[in-house]
């Protein structure tokens, strides 16, 4: 079978003359980067309408469940999973709390077993993740799932008083990356009157001239910039004044001090979204904690003994449900940690840490959870860092972000770890996700 390149008709099935002009503008601007790839929204007219309907539902939906209860849809969802999804069928039906949890390793072993029997597979797309935990993933998804991300971003933005407005002739979003190699392309968003979308790599290798980066971004005037702390740190270094209405940060820990720096620089809210390929946008950081976004996602906190934690108790964030019918999650352990608390009107993940807990030792022998390290460092404008403790207790911190932080970093770590040997290493970039905390046992 010949695996032909998709055509532009397949990438943009509803493209109008206005959309075509937007694509041309994005591609052919004198300062445009080298776009290394092609992609599109792939949505049919009916799917565009459905995505708008979905966004309206998300905007109105109450929390998925209330304290002391479970979501009304949960039982039917579990039954359907067991009936239609090969992986879950093999495990059989049980009371919800007795269902075994699944992990990234299960998805990694055979993702095909998680695709329900009856769903069409002729238009599958894949989401790939790098796998900092040793399990790279290739996930099944669909253009409609990708389109529905926007509904949750809109819901998150609404909390900060922002209603997206970009439409015809305007650029809705620029996704900013900063890696040696990055998937880059341009598209239009049909649910927003074909507002432009560009996915860029700020790495100078992708540009004819490094200064083109700022000029191009200025020319686009995107309503929203999305990226991660690394790419935003690079944005800060560009000699331009961009005025997006919001920044959305995903993928990596965004420290409060760096977030404040970004907010001051761009004069707009910076949203820290807890999101993953397996489940899409799950929660958005607020002053009180990460507020859950999905009304068809049941979030449990599971303790190391496998039991569900009570509200306020810390454990692993575990997901059931979601909006990707091609990957229904049933008690999926995310590898991220938090407690879950009811605020009176919504559920919040508190004390969120995006990776398994690591226990360090101070010079005095005190055991320190990695969350304490995060607390110590969060007032410093770090874009990304890793901290490793050797068997002899020595601490090695690698970081990137604002220069000249050595003194403050050393002071923060010495206070926490007493008089351990501490070495600091500033790096230009980590080139993607990293395992943040490690310790030789």
């Amino acid at each position: 079978m010949i695996d032909a390149e998709p055509t532009d008709e397949e990438r943009y099935p509803t493209l109008t003359e206005h959309g075509a002009q937007m694509l041309q503008r994005l591609r052919e601007h004198p300062c445009a980067p080298v776009f290394r790839n092609r992609s599109g929204n792939r949505l049919t007219r009916e799917e565009v309408a459905a995505a708008k309907t979905f966004a309206a539902q998300v905007a109105e939906a109450p929390p998925a469940w209330r304290p002391g209860a479970r979501p009304e849809w949960l039982e039917e969802f579990v039954t359907r999973c067991v009936a239609e999804v090969p992986f879950y069928r093999r495990r059989g039906l049980a009371d919800f709390a007795a269902l075994p949890t699944i992990s990234r390793a299960d998805l990694s072993e055979d993702i095909a077993a998680f695709v329900p029997d009856r769903l069409p597979i002729d238009r599958l797309i894949n989401f790939r993740t790098s796998g900092t935990t040793g399990h790279p993933l290739l996930l099944a998804s669909h253009p409609t799932v990708a389109a529905n991300y926007l509904a949750f971003h809109q819901k998150a933005l609404r909390r900060f008083g922002i209603e997206l407005q970009a439409g015809r002739g305007q650029v809705g979003v620029v996704l900013v990356g900063f890696q040696r190699k990055c998937f880059t392309y341009v598209s239009v968003t049909p649910t927003m009157e074909e507002a432009g979308l560009a996915k860029l790599n700020l790495h100078p290798d992708d540009w004819r001239h490094p200064d083109d980066r700022g000029r191009y971004l200025e020319a686009l005037g995107a309503e929203v910039l999305t990226g991660d702390p690394l790419s935003f740190a690079e944005l800060l270094r560009l000699p331009v004044r961009l005025r997006p209405r919001a920044l959305l940060s995903t993928s990596m820990t965004l420290l409060p001090s760096f977030r404040a720096q970004l907010e001051a620089h761009f004069d707009c809210p910076v949203l820290d979204i807890y999101s993953m390929n397996e489940a899409g946008p799950i929660a958005v950081a607020t002053e009180r904690g990460h507020a859950l976004l999905q009304h068809r996602m049941y979030v449990e906190i599971v303790k190391p003994d496998g039991l569900t934690a009570t509200p306020g108790e810390r454990g692993e964030i575990t997901l059931t449900g979601g909006f990707n019918p091609w990957l229904p999650l049933l008690r999926y352990r995310t590898g991220d940690y938090a407690a879950l608390e009811w605020s009176g009107e919504e559920w919040l993940l508190t004390g969120f840490e995006g990776r398994p807990p690591v226990t360090f030792r101070s010079a005095a022998g005190e055991l320190l959870n990695n969350i304490e390290v995060t607390h110590r460092l969060q007032r410093l404008p770090l874009a990304q860092w890793t901290l490793h403790q050797r068997r002899d207790g020595a601490i090695h911190l690698r970081w990137c972000g604002q220069a000249g932080l050595e003194t403050e970093l050393r002071r923060a770590l010495e206070t926490l770890f007493d008089a351990q040997t501490i070495t600091l290493e500033e790096v230009a970039s980590f080139d993607g996700k990293v395992i943040q905390y490690t310790c030789e046992s």
């Binding site: 790839n37 092609r38 090969p86 597979i121 991300y149 999305t226 946008p281």
Partner: protein
Amino acid sequence: MNTEGPALESLLHRLAETPDDFLAEPRIGGSGSVHVAAVIHDCLAQFGYAVSPQDLGFVQGTDPKNDRNRQGIALVAAWLLTDPWFRQHTVAGGAVLKALSISAFEMAPYVMARKFVEDPDRREEMARFALARLDMRPAGESIAQAQDRLTTVSTAERVRVFHAAQAAEERARAIREALARKAAEESADKYTRE
């Protein structure tokens, strides 16, 4: 097999006492005495289910050699599934019809209808196979126990499991291929990337 059904012993006992009417020769062409379609119709009426002519395709046929045993099995299965337990537990008539049809079609190549009454092992096979088609297992058994015992006693089930595994592997291969295609690799627009 996700739901617990009646006790296996009660079904085995019912099969052992199958009335002669349900063991009589199906009427095919000019021979035989029992109108199987009419019997099925009456059985399902007990569930409040109105059978349509299209529903009864599995007990039609004019070739005694090919159709007799299937129709005979349908009769025995109909007797089994009209056990009061199923009506008392509000099993849907449509589900019973489907179980009858699958049981008749899939077991006919391997076992003569009368054996499902006279032979203890085949009685167990009929009871377990028909229950499984209702997504049920005998009371007191786990899903794993019930599945294991059914594949042990039933050739039809082993064939079914084999075909299901083949179909599942074919579907999984198709999914893996679909995910590896260039179109899938291009993915589709999202406002953020993880």
